[in-house]
């Protein structure tokens, strides 16, 4: 397993831990809409993470083989975020909008913290 796929595996593992925490919060606490929003945002965030993984891998493959890569999939990810927010705005009684936004940022926060920790570890 390469360093790259190991990293993605670690990130998705941490995201799934956070998702499990949110599901537990949805089941146990009375803040149903807040945790449902967090779950929705985190699921879309995970899809975004895998989309970035595939596209970056494809660009790397294209660079090695000397071919062309068509896109990095930025528009797909923006549209997915917009879809999550549209769902939250369509059903405001089930999803809390601000928590959907926080959920969308979960993987980015994990990537930031993990990369800082990795840098400190290998310093």
């Amino acid at each position: 397993m390469t360093e790259y796929s190991q990293m993605i595996r670690r990130y998705s593992q941490y995201t799934l831990y956070v998702l499990a925490l949110f599901v537990m919060g949805w089941g146990v606490t009375s803040y149903k809409s807040v945790f449902l929003g967090l779950i929705l945002g985190t699921v879309f965030s995970l899809i975004n993470l895998f989309s970035t993984y595939r596209k970056v891998n494809r660009v790397g493959q294209a660079a090695v083989e000397g071919k062309k890569a068509k896109s990095l999939g930025s528009l797909t990810r923006l549209a997915l975020a917009a879809l999550a927010v549209a769902i939250a705005m369509r059903y405001p009684e089930s999803f809390h909008l601000v928590s959907v936004v926080i959920g969308l940022m979960v993987t980015y926060i994990i990537i930031l913290i993990d990369s800082i920790l990795q840098t400190l570890r290998f310093k």
């Binding site: 360093e3 790397g60 090695v64 923006l78 990537i111």
Partner: protein, 70 residues
């Protein structure tokens, strides 16, 4: 007025992300083409860069949707 605000927010964020992504991908492809054995390391760095650059336009899209929805 809300539509203009949303369009400006998304547009400016997309311009910033486009420039940032272009710089990151350009340098990574250059590096990988020069030394293909470093592909894993460079891809890792590129992934972190692309992810962090794209966080801001996503926030901008969300804000634009919230402005339109009001």
């Amino acid at each position: 007025m809300g539509l203009i605000a949303a369009a400006i927010a998304v547009g400016l964020a997309a311009v910033g992300a486009g420039i940032g992504n272009g710089l990151i991908v350009g340098r990574t492809v250059e590096g990988v083409a020069r030394q293909p054995e470093l592909r894993g390391t460079l891809q890792t760095t590129m992934f972190i860069g692309v992810a962090l650059v794209e966080a801001l336009p996503i926030i901008a899209v969300v804000i634009a949707f919230m402005v339109i929805g009001q």
